[in-house]
């Protein structure tokens, strides 16, 4: 029974591997456990062992060549066995052998009694043996090859979730029969990958002179990377799955989305009064400026629905509900945007509580998919880091994102006099396909008015 040797998926992030050196040649007899070839993955070099026996009939990929995961490297079969079909099929994606039994599912035959025995089509594929002698990793490459000719198999539900979450299916590894991507696969990816692009973090510095714009929580600093004198000139660290997707989505956003930026300075005097009196009345509340800003945005979006919209190719989708994503840094140096749904209908108290709860779980990466997807507008706040003003990248498929800076004391001019004012600079990034300058400006004017007269929040 012919045995196909495929480029194994040696790690989660591996999409292609390099054949370093064949350890056997065509015509050699092969026994189970023989090391056949040395390959290079994205992380380590490893030897690939045979689990079957036979003759190494054909080597298809020579030393030094890089091929996608899942590519046919060689065929081991009986000495006279006809392997022409297997070789002809090389280059087209085929499901790995261990999925053959489960492939019956894909043919949609009814399971009539008595059940026919599931016959695996071929011997199990090979198990790679890490050169370091560690544990043998799990087996065959079920994912479609990055450059292969196969189409992406995914259940309708998985496709829908991927589309709604902005995940490219080609980045997802399918665990279903034949490499089918199913709901759990997409959800796992959404969980790992962050979707809120933001400016890179600096480790927390001493806060600004006034109370921080957000509830002061000791965010765990991302891993420190001191420069060691006398060491090598550089070291490359392969991108984590998260970083890869942030990179892809940032490019995806900034690339096709024509951004423009509108900045406005808001007088936070009355917002401060609101915050202080609320926190005095309810000691447990700990209302933050961000909570107030989120509610103010929700209110402003209700009357300025043109900003609560998404570009959909041939239409602009105006969302009838306002769900605001708030950018949160996670403990391991990542980003995620938990969503506060229907902010316009919630009280400040509710928003504050929800924001804290979601942020806490977001930091620990314990959010459910429905809690970090579906936002129609986002708010990103770097005030507590001392940033006075910045521009954020829009979170596709939203139409806008508000970047909130620190609330600072500064000299201001009021009726010809110089006074000490409490100001916050906010920058709205807009998708010019959906929102024009005047539209964005009107929204910011409304937002400013609400924040400077918080009594509007009572309406």
């Amino acid at each position: 029974m012919a045995n196909r040797l495929l480029m194994p998926k040696g790690s989660d992030t591996m999409t292609e591997g390099k054949v370093l050196k064949w350890l056997k040649k065509e015509g050699d007899a092969i026994s189970p456990g023989d090391a056949l070839v040395e390959i290079e993955t994205d992380k380590v070099d490893m030897e690939v062992e045979s689990v079957g026996s036979g003759v190494l009939r054909r080597i298809l990929i020579p030393d030094g060549k890089v091929v996608p995961v899942g590519e046919l490297l060689a065929v081991i079969a009986g000495p006279q066995e006809d392997i022409s079909a297997l070789i002809a099929a090389a280059g087209q994606w085929k499901p790995a052998a261990t999925h053959a039994a489960a492939e019956k599912l894909a043919t949609e035959k009814p399971v009539s009694a008595p059940p026919s025995a599931a016959k695996p089509a071929a011997a199990p594929s090979v198990v790679p043996l890490p050169a370091t002698g560690g544990a043998i990793p799990a087996v065959p490459p079920p994912a479609h090859p990055a450059g292969g000719g196969g189409r992406v198999l995914a259940s309708p539900l998985a496709r829908r979730i991927a589309k709604e979450s902005g995940i490219e299916l080609s980045r997802v590894v399918g665990s279903g029969p034949g490499g089918r991507i199913v709901r759990s696969d997409v959800e796992r990816v959404v969980m790992e990958f962050q979707t809120a692009p933001r400016k890179p973090f600096a480790p927390p510095v001493a806060g600004p002179a006034v109370a921080p714009a957000r509830e002061a929580r000791p965010a765990a600093a991302p891993p420190q990377r001191p420069i060691v004198p006398g060491g090598p000139d550089f070291q490359d660290e392969p991108l984590s799955s998260m970083r890869k997707t942030i990179a892809a989505r940032l490019t995806q956003s900034l690339g096709p989305v024509p951004h423009f930026f509108l900045t406005i300075e808001v007088d936070m005097k009355r917002a401060k009064e609101l915050r202080e009196s609320a926190n005095t009345l309810d000691a447990e509340l700990k209302l933050s400026y961000n909570d107030i800003i989120i509610k103010a945005c929700a209110a402003a979006l209700r009357t300025h629905g043109e900003v609560n919209a998404s570009f959909r190719g041939d239409a602009i989708r105006y969302h009838n509900r306002v769900h605001i994503g708030m950018a949160v840094a996670t403990e391991d140096g990542g980003l995620i945007t938990p969503v506060i749904r229907d902010g316009g209908r919630k009280s400040l108290q509710q928003i504050s509580r929800e924001a804290k709860e979601l942020a806490g779980r977001a930091r620990n990466r314990k959010l459910l998919p429905e809690e970090y997807t579906g936002s129609t507008f986002s708010v990103s706040n770097l005030g507590m880091m001392g940033i006075e003003e910045f521009t954020a990248v829009i979170n596709p498929p939203e139409g806008a994102i508000l970047a909130v800076g620190a609330v600072v004391e500064k000299p201001v001019v009021t009726e010809g006099r110089i006074e000490v004012g409490l100001r916050c600079r906010m920058t709205l990034s807009c998708d010019h396909r959906v929102i024009d300058g005047a539209t964005g400006a009107r929204f910011l004017q409304a937002l400013k008015q609400i924040l400077e007269n918080p009594v509007y929040l009572a309406f």
């Binding site: 599912l105 949609e108 399971v111 009539s112 009694a113 059940p115 309708p156 539900l157 665990s175 199913v182």
Partner: protein, 326 residues
């Protein structure tokens, strides 16, 4: 509430309706003097007399035609088939007369007939007497098809079927006649065309009718032990099908297994799968699987018969497949 058997429930339904409306008559083989081949019509001859409970000769085509004619001129006959296998002998009257009369007469003749009897496998009744033919009748415009799985459903649906002015094919199950269940006291009707969620759940939808409902419920019980919460939906009426309830269930669970006793090709399950796939396509995380009877004439041997019918084990396997939990 009373706990009664499925056959008692049917008996009560007919009795109550016949008391209420004197145009309702019952005819069939052994329905009168013998008290019913399966005792479903026990006591009815005594109460209503020979003008309303007719013992017929062994001639399904004849007495079904008689029933259709009687229905056309004002009676409301209940025609009993000793088993639905024998309905094949009467099928011309059911499909060509009963189903089409309203249409072909331009609305002048309605046919408020109920053709009822047990269908599907019994115990070692062998090839010619174990057939599940509901899909044949579901195919025909002009007919309604109902298949109760519990005593409560049997009573409520039969009363509605009798009151319906359309021909209703009402398929019971010999194996279920002795089963017991709670039935509300008093006047109890279940509208035709409404499905019933026999067991709510969230992980997978199991759709089954007639005695397969019991198989599905048993499978659900076993699945629960493995942490899988299955929802069991009983369409109760196959035509018209309550697509809404079925589709909403699948939208909730994202996966379905359809269990039916009949043969796979062009069975009722095929229609149910089609309905779900085009109305809930974007909600499906896996293909919809069917667990059906084997595609063979029913064997006589007990062990073979058992192998030919769906059982909880096969339903569980299918449920786990659509959950990708092999």
């Amino acid at each position: 509430m009373s706990t009664i058997t499925y056959r008692e429930a049917l008996n009560q339904a007919m009795r109550e309706e016949m008391r209420r409306d004197e145009t309702i008559v019952l005819m069939g083989e052994e329905v009168g003097f013998y008290q019913g081949a399966y005792k479903v019509s026990k006591g009815l001859l005594d109460e209503f007399g020979p003008m309303r409970v007719l013992d017929t000769p062994i001639t399904e085509l004849g007495f079904t035609g008689l029933g259709v004619g009687a229905a056309m001129v004002g009676l409301r006959p209940i025609v009993e088939m000793m088993t639905f296998n024998f309905s094949m002998l009467a099928i011309d009257q059911i499909v060509n007369s009963a189903a089409k009369m309203l249409y072909m007469s331009g609305g002048q003749f309605k046919v408020p007939i109920v053709i009822r009897g047990p269908g599907g496998a019994g115990h070692q009744l062998s090839a010619q007497h174990s057939q599940a033919l509901e899909s044949w009748y579901c195919h025909v415009p002009g007919l309604k098809v109902a298949m109760p799985s519990t005593p409560a459903d049997a009573k409520g649906l039969l009363k509605s079927a009798i009151r319906d002015d359309n021909p209703v094919v009402f398929i019971e199950s010999e194996v279920l006649y002795g089963s017991r269940g709670e039935v509300p006291d008093g006047e109890y009707l279940i509208p035709l065309g409404v499905a019933d969620i026999k067991r709510p759940g969230k992980d997978v939808t199991l759709i089954a009718h007639s005695k397969m409902v019991l198989v599905a419920l048993e499978a659900a019980k076993e699945l629960e032990k493995e942490g899988i919460d299955a929802e069991v939906v009983d369409p109760r009426t196959l035509r018209p099908l309550d697509s809404e309830t079925l589709v909403n269930s699948v939208k909730k669970t994202n996966r379905a297994v359809v269990v039916e006793e009949g043969w796979p090709f062009c069975g009722v399950g095929a229609q149910i799968v089609d309905t779900i796939q085009h109305r809930a396509f974007d909600y499906l995380d896996a293909p919809i699987l069917r667990v059906t009877g084997a595609d063979v004439p029913m064997p006589y041997a007990k062990n073979l018969e058992h192998l030919c019918l769906p059982d909880p084990q096969r339903v569980m396997e299918a449920a786990k497949r659509v959950l990708y939990r092999q």
